[in-house]
Symmetry: C2
Amino acid sequence: MANKGAPVVTPWEVKGEIDYDRLMERFGTEPITPELLERIKRHTGRLHHMLRRGVFYSHRDLDAILDHYKGGGRFVLYTGRGPSGPVHLGHLVPWTFTRHLQEVFGSKLFFQFTDDERMLIRDDVDEEAAGHWVLENAVDLMALGFDPEKTEFIVNTRHVSELYPLALRIAKGITCSTMRAAFGFSDDSNLGMMFFPTMQAAPCFLASERTGEPVPCLVPAGIDQDTYWRITRDVARKLGYPKPAQVHGRMLPGLTGDAKMSSSRPLTAIYTTDVPELVERKIAGADTGNHPARCPMYQYRYLLLTEDDEKARELYVDCLEGGIDCRECKARLAETVNRFLGRHRRRRRLIRGGVEKMLE
Amino acid sequence: MANKGAPVVTPWEVKGEIDYDRLMERFGTEPITPELLERIKRHTGRLHHMLRRGVFYSHRDLDAILDHYKGGGRFVLYTGRGPSGPVHLGHLVPWTFTRHLQEVFGSKLFFQFTDDERMLIRDDVDEEAAGHWVLENAVDLMALGFDPEKTEFIVNTRHVSELYPLALRIAKGITCSTMRAAFGFSDDSNLGMMFFPTMQAAPCFLASERTGEPVPCLVPAGIDQDTYWRITRDVARKLGYPKPAQVHGRMLPGLTGDAKMSSSRPLTAIYTTDVPELVERKIAGADTGNHPARCPMYQYRYLLLTEDDEKARELYVDCLEGGIDCRECKARLAETVNRFLGRHRRRRRLIRGGVEKMLE
């Protein structure tokens, strides 16, 4: 592994070998049990491979969301992204699962672009750069097949008129010391980073705010984002709105064996815009981890690309029993990724004009 | 005096006997010297009674503003108010002086309504209540004779789209510990109060931001607001904009001898909407302080109502030499205040429709 130090998992940084069960314990979340999976299956007819395989493995109040849905109630989905660079395969894990949830539950999705947060932590991202990435990233999102009628983009600096009054009420219910303890802010942290989490919290309550009725919200996201939702849940009661529920996903490992594919370490990432030759080169040079459980090649298939359980299992066994060598496995993966990205890019071109209109 | 404890002067609280010279020392501001008054007079032809009498007595960079103006440059004025209640005579001191500055220098005024801050510190102020007071207070302001062509209202929650990106850049340049040290925030302070000063700082740079040129800004306000401008000046360099200049005013004492007439202590205040009988009753019951220097009755005339120096001096002498007793003095003041407020209210009615349009 590239990094053997103590694991770090915060909204800004993930490094080291991640023990996902311990994260669940540390963050105080619940496992998605076989019983819960059965309940989901009863509503959805089938189980998404990310649920079958425990890619989304932890939750808070998912049972309450299902109770509500069973009673005929609607809930909204909410996730988002900091628009400061291209989208990579790691981003597609929670987005693909979110699209599935939208499809099977018919839920509206709020997708937040935290351009404000990007400008607060990065000096190379101004409004123009953030605006560019908002469009590019939105095209990537919609290319996954979200329903434009049920998808609403929230670009923080553009939609601040609606978010700010809500963020104020959230901020009023959180003390500075709570914020420091939760996020580990230091005395030198900039003031904006301290306030920003209230802007990320706001969309959890947007549907309730707009309708005047309590509308539950389910947030599918990587478990590294959990701190935001703990804070948001604590303040929900003061606002008189339902606590946002979460489903927490594992993170797609980086090419070099890092625990998380990350834009801030470009060598770890396969971007949706990478040309086929680059994808081949990146995968050829990747770290294999010497076991499918630790091999990014296998993880990309298992977590994201190979929906067929049988095919995934075959590869696992073949790898361990010497039925396939790493060079061959990598070549096949590059082919799969390039087929996937080729289709993704064609969809991107097709929908770009429509997404521009959605963002107007 | 109603309060003999150690004096407190912060943006939220003023109590105790104020030593204005010591405040200047403590905040590190400069006195408005006779030389500076001469320079102002050269531009304005006359000196406003609030300058002649040292009501506005302290400053930062007023000399730089005059240099800039002398060189043919323009500057903007900026002041504001938290819209959570009616306007009283104390508010009219800086506003009257600001109107004078607008008239003699032809400057544009940004007037900020900090409805966000009101909602953060008060539980009885929601968006509806704040909206009501925005209009009422704006009518009071414009009734003083501001030029509607040169006056722009900034209502924080309504104009947040323009303010927020600027507030973010300000927030990025301020650490949490700076904020705590400057404002005395505790661990229990709510997060919104910590962020809010960046929203109050933003209009200082709005003219520069809009024009892309450095446009200096002069803030006339009570000296109790100084903390905001110290923070704002520190961050100006990082934004590449001129540091905002200030002129600092004394505060109008309360009827009960408090150092500051304050809406949060209604018995200390004469509101612009008080009917004549109420004004008479309030003044009749006021504390006299036993010396014109400490007597609210005298201070109201000297700081605000009596522009004629000779008349002010006569009253001072008459009071000390027994030429007038307190009952007579109070009756005359009530008459003066009621004449002033009567005219003010007639102007309010006249302009209300126009101000509503300004706020649309």
